[in-house]
Amino acid sequence: MLLSVEQLEARHGFLRAVRGVSFEVAAGETLAIVGANGAGKSTLLRALAGAHKPAAGRIVFDGRDITALSAHRRVREGIALVPEGRRLFTGMTLEENLLVARRRARPGPWNVEAVLEAFPLLAARRKSRAGNLSGGEQQATAIGRALMTNPRLLLLDEVSLGLAPVAVDGVYRALRGLIETGATIVLVEQDLNRALEVATRVACMLEGEIVLEGPAAEMTREQVVEAYFGLGRPEGETAVPA
Amino acid sequence: MNVSVERSTRLSRISVACVIPLVAALAFVPVALSANVTDKLTTLFVYLILAAMWNALAGYAGLVSVGQQAFFGLGAYAAIRLTQHGVNVYAALVLGALLAGATAVPLSIFMLRLGGGEFAIGMWVVAEVCFGLVILDTSVHGLTGVSLIALNRYSAHDQRAYAYWFALGSAVVFLGLVFALLRSRTGASLQAIRDDEEAAASVGVSVLGGKRVVFVLAALGCATAGTIWLATSITFTPRSYFGVEWTAYMIFMALVGGLGTFEGPILGAVLFFVVQDQFGDNGVWYLVGLGGAAIVFALLLPRGLWGTVEERFGLQLLPVGYRLRGLESIANPEPAEGRRP
């Protein structure tokens, strides 16, 4: 198991965004985490990346307990997050955005040239200010930036959000390419179809908990939709803020 | 579910009831106690006003000002000039404070648009400008300063008593104003502004309006403190009135007492008074201590002494907030299966 999450608990103030979540990801797998807004998916990813301090639980990466490790240290370990909303450094050029990530990168095949090869549409915009790029270009840059660190585990948060369908196509094409090279990916996605297309495993989150999990091939859309909306749960079981 | 909103606890009702007899008792000090005690209490009242004002600015409006000495000095300056034009000295003190405080109104249009650090140093620059302009005025003899000779009409004993009553009265007025402000709608909106300006604005709170009220009040308070100081020290030397050390004292009192609480500045002023009295002669070490205390409290005890007590024990001497009774019933609903949530 490359990644092992045990009883992870993450809060926003008093709100328990992630409640006792446990799951595992093997090397080479692509885990898609789906769920409605506010289900806790982004918080979970941020906790994995080290950007959000968990209230309880453990994160074990390649046998190492990294729960207490800060975000920039996790990058060295091999975890990279493409955050929700891209979060590029808009004041810097595309190339500079990539170069920032190179500084503490692990050794590996990814560098600026490799990224521009993987996302050819970016090559022409190399010297443009990141703030001036289109949505699709920004998303590609954000993914490229994460790749620059040569991660062993790539976390992607809502990469299709706010993008035109054709841009999303491009992003997922690149993702499939990555998956083919054996990358381990955890992606959070609201678009069920896209998620089921690329995932080997699917987990559905509802109100901070994983309510459904299993290999993508064995799951029907109906099962996922039911879990997504919390249908079919016993009456009266509502979430009370702790 | 039994939830009600109450404005005061039993403890706070008792405290309020005690205030009037306390003030009445204090009024007798000049006649009943020694000159020394009278003088010291007058000084204490000045500190009290300054602490309360700075606390209102920083703790309630979120405005850190490193330049309140501007009003402190302007108040004294205005009073002196008025007496030089023949105004009765005690009327001049009150009028001077009002005039100096009034400058805050146009100033606020400008200064309140600045954020955080810019406002802080901006106010300091304002204080330096006031200082620079005042020392150009030959009628106060530039840097050497001038005395409030108009006081000579009154005997030393009378001067002391009048200054004391002026100080006591001012302290009651300004603390009362802060209290009223906090209990009013403006007070609630100030808390909201302090917690989250954007959110407050989005529910219709006039952010600028709330801050302006506090800014002008603080200016009036500091200006009054300045005129009281003039009445007791009699001389007006611009450098000491416009000095940034007054801000140091105010920060110490507000921070150590408890920023954002009502009782905090009172505690802070008393503490500062004691420290001044005991260690004031130790020159720089005493100031180093003040600065060091400000750092320590800012970092480790940001809620100050009273704030920490209030948090720990839920104590509140004076009723300035709203308390929800019966909240326990919402937080812990009866679980359906009899298990603890």
Binding site: V100, R104, A146 | I121
Partner: protein, 298 residues
């Protein structure tokens, strides 16, 4: 020609203000902290160089020791004090650095007393040598040196930020420390580094102050105000703006002094307030209340 001379002197003085303000500008640009103790750190640097000079070391050699020491001081200050202040809330850095201001000033007073000090006697002819351009425009060599250093310093910082990996890391952290962490940048280290540069340049400015003029333990407050005024006039966030602001301030002060020697400081303050007022009015006309727009940030 008298006026031309005053303008020239003002420009030269602006060079000093630029060196003084560079650190303040950097700290604010990267960390959003206004270090109220900045001026006092400059004066601390001045006293350190002074101490070495009194014991026979050339001030220039003393600087070689003092600048790194002050850099380390900045690092420690950031990690020990400012980092915590940042976490606690927006008011806290102001309170903590003000406390620091009081502590430094009074400790310096305790150690050195109230006397004015100067490095003037220790820099040989540089202190009073000058070039006579016309018989009314005379430029002191030390002033020209300071201006030259200011230009080099700002250019160097600009290149550092634009071209080097640590500079990029600094820019990224300044814009979005959270995301910077996600790509492997240790934001705390970056902040400490920025603080080190800021305090070291402050110390350099302090030494320059000591060379061209005099200083005492309480000079720091005044220097802070100058630095702040220069930064605001020139536009927060722009390094070259700091030079422009410094020059405008210096020129304003000298012209004011030419009208009346007592108006030196006041002229500077009034120009500062005027620039601020103009910016606020422009911002209100443009409808953008953002602080950066108001204070001219690029």
């Amino acid at each position: 020609m008298i006026w031309v001379n005053q303008i020239v002197q003002g420009v030269l003085l602006g060079g000093y203000y630029a060196v003084l303000a560079a650190g303040l500008s950097l700290m604010f640009g990267v960390m959003r902290i206004i270090n109220l103790a900045h001026g006092d750190l400059a004066v601390l640097g001045a006293f350190l160089v002074f101490l070495f000079s009194k014991h026979g070391l050339s001030p220039w050699l003393a600087l070689v020791i003092v600048l790194p020491v002050m850099g380390v001081t900045g690092w420690v200050l950031q990690r020990g004090l400012l980092e915590r202040s940042l976490r606690a809330g927006p008011l806290t850095p102001l309170l903590a650095t003000f406390g620091l201001l009081i502590v430094i000033e009074n400790l310096l007073f305790e150690k050195f007393g109230p006397d004015e000090r100067s490095l003037f006697p220790y820099i040989g002819k540089l202190g009073y040598d000058s070039w006579t351009i016309t018989n009314q425009v005379i430029v002191g060599k030390i002033y020209v040196l300071i201006l030259a250093v200011a230009v080099f310093l700002l250019a160097g910082l600009q290149v550092f930020l634009a071209r080097t990996p640590p500079g990029r890391a600094l820019r990224a952290t300044a814009e979005d420390p959270d995301t910077a962490e996600l790509v492997g940048v240790d934001s705390r280290r970056v902040y400490a580094f920025a603080a080190a540069i800021a305090v070291a340049t402050a110390a350099l400015a302090g030494a320059f102050l000591a060379m061209r003029s005099s200083f005492n333990p309480y000079s720091g407050s005044q220097q802070l105000i100058f630095a702040f005024e220069a930064v605001v006039i020139g536009g927060i966030g722009s390094l070259w703006g700091t030079l422009t602001g410094g020059i405008v301030l210096g020129v304003a002060q000298n012209i004011g002094a030419q009208l009346n020697p007592q108006w030196f400081l006041l002229a500077g303050h009034l120009v500062f307030l005027a620039v601020l007022a103009v910016r606020l009015v422009l911002a209100s006309l443009g409808g953008n209340w953002g602080l950066r727009a108001i204070l001219g940030r690029a």
